[in-house]
Symmetry: C2
Subunit: 225 residues, 2 copies
Amino acid sequence: MFSAIKHLGQKAAQAIDVELMTTHGFTIEQLMELAGLSVADSIAAEYARGRVLLCIGPGNNGGDGLVAARHLTHYGYRVSLFYPKQPQKDLYKSLLRQCGAFQIPVVHDLAAAISDSDLIVDAIFGFSFSGTPRAPFDGVLDALRASDKPVVSVDVPSGWDVEEGDPAGTGLRPDMLVSLTAPKLCAAGFHGRFHYLGGRFVPPSMAQSLGLPSYPGTSNCIRLR
Amino acid sequence: MFSAIKHLGQKAAQAIDVELMTTHGFTIEQLMELAGLSVADSIAAEYARGRVLLCIGPGNNGGDGLVAARHLTHYGYRVSLFYPKQPQKDLYKSLLRQCGAFQIPVVHDLAAAISDSDLIVDAIFGFSFSGTPRAPFDGVLDALRASDKPVVSVDVPSGWDVEEGDPAGTGLRPDMLVSLTAPKLCAAGFHGRFHYLGGRFVPPSMAQSLGLPSYPGTSNCIRLR
């Protein structure tokens, strides 16, 4: 189903982000809010209200995770954050401050946090990532891979190549992938249970050229597979 | 129902906005995006997909309307804007640019636009308004009052006193009111068919002190009455 949907390479994904924020006038705060909301809505569509640990990376993928954490709290999940590398940019500091207003704890013992969770959100690396994960995130990915808790990856399974995926089969095996704006090329190698699309902010002309499906009703997300 | 919910005076509403944006670290772009989304979702819950004319004021209430216009387009409504006084602030210019990316027309003949619409959104004045509407908005309100098209007011029926409402009974008679964050005092004088609450961004402690009801599931809005 949805076979007409385009899968984006790294440069195409970056170009679309630039187009949204320059030509079309969106701010990063708006796009991130709607992206994170759609991640929370995708999770709420498939997983019982329980304990969710969000592993937050140092860039925009982490920002999406911080937004999702807030909305998941609205939805009745018990949420905590593992956020080992907190950038000083105002955007991320504000998002973390908002999580503070929601009493969302930031935890430091990853092993204990994984053990105390029902679901883990991988909001570590997004479509800008390339190369090999470095400390401390290499260790985080090892811990997630070793765990038997279901993992939800935001946009790209962290550690995977954005285009090639995980040909060696040694990386994360998420249970859910929430593609944002449009799937990235690596999504073809995703074989978990739930593939969702979120980020319902794409103007009609862009949506048509990307072959995006129509979201149902007022939903912020749509199940692709 | 929901009798415990607090109704806010003008100063209390302003203080809550400040608290959200300073203490809790929200940006205006985030709050406006979620507020406008909830206006669109409230409309989609009650009115058939048709032609919607949004009358946009010069401040934040108008900004909420510009966001709602975009989401209504996502939902399949045919949307147009009447926006007679466009401020030069980047925030509003960006929101209008986004509407441009959605091919949402800005119309200039109000009488024709009202006649061509199935539903009108009053996003003219919000909780900061006081005094008497001046040109061109006095004329816009006269035209809306004279029309038999249903009107949806965003947060406050424009022209009403934020606290006293419309004691003379000569002002707008909206069919729907979408209160944002929490109802304002004037909402007690609203006797239209649909009273909704939107703006699902309030931290739990603030929601509790305001006596806000729990939103259902992942919904961005809730019907109060």
